[in-house]
Symmetry: C2
Subunit: 121 residues, 2 copies
DNA sequence: AAATATGTATTGACAGTCTATATATAGACC
DNA sequence: GGTCTATATATAGACTGTCAATACATATTT
């Protein structure tokens, strides 16, 4: 994989970011790298996207932050709030439903009869 | 199902609309109703979204239109161009990859250990 | 000394979606 | 006759999420 998913992550970036916090608090840069790595580069979220997003999530009280000064470089660590956990789960369920739905709608495309990429003059 | 997928369809509305034209030409209103019905109301695309989208797809030569005057009410029928067919297929494949990727990333959320919605004081 | 990686943040632009509005006809119901 | 609903297309304006570009600062590597 290489190419970024071109707008396809629109609408569930929140979900992805929240999910990275499931196993404990993380700072922005780490979240970014984790997403990139665990998605094989498919979800390469830009800094200019991530930080505003984190600020928004915090403003909505879905995550909370603290400055970690214990390391050499200061970093802002985020963790899920209770509300954030709830949101994460409900969004994940909703996402599954949506995917299943679209999957079904696109089914004809993936059936044996589907044109593979070069026919019909 | 009831609630619209709240921004989740962002990024692949094109895909869904194109896919409705797989089995022959259709006019806007029909596309809208078809999507709504076949998705159990989950994908309820508004007129103000659909028509600009169709115009954009046509401007990109992914679909072409003709006015159908044979019926009582005039309607604009759209059909896939070759380019549109290609795009449809490539987008569908891309979508599948993306979904598989996210599915994997969210896996922890759906495993037995996941909190169902009310724990941790 | 210089380049690269880490780390957070803001700015401005763009594109896709939504809401609201406009227009017009067909058919059903009262 | 009048009203309501469904059919049918279209535009305007606002909002919002994402991206690209830029800025700044420090640690590590070369």
């Amino acid at each position: 994989m290489e190419k970024s998913s071109e707008g396809m992550l629109r609408g569930n970036l929140d979900l992805l970011v929240l999910s990275t916090l499931l196993d404990g608090e993380k700072h922005g840069y780490l979240i970014q790298k984790n997403l990139q790595r665990s998605s094989d580069g498919l979800v390469s979220i830009q800094a200019g996207t991530l930080y505003p997003l984190l600020h928004r999530l915090e403003a909505d009280h879905l995550i909370r932050s603290r400055w970690d000064e214990s390391t050499k470089r200061r970093r802002k660590c985020y963790e899920l709030t209770r509300a954030g956990q709830k949101r994460l789960h409900s969004q994940a369920v909703q996402w599954r439903e949506y995917v299943a739905c679209v999957q079904k709608m696109l089914q004809p495309l993936f059936e044996p009869g589907a044109i593979p990429a070069g026919e019909t003059p």
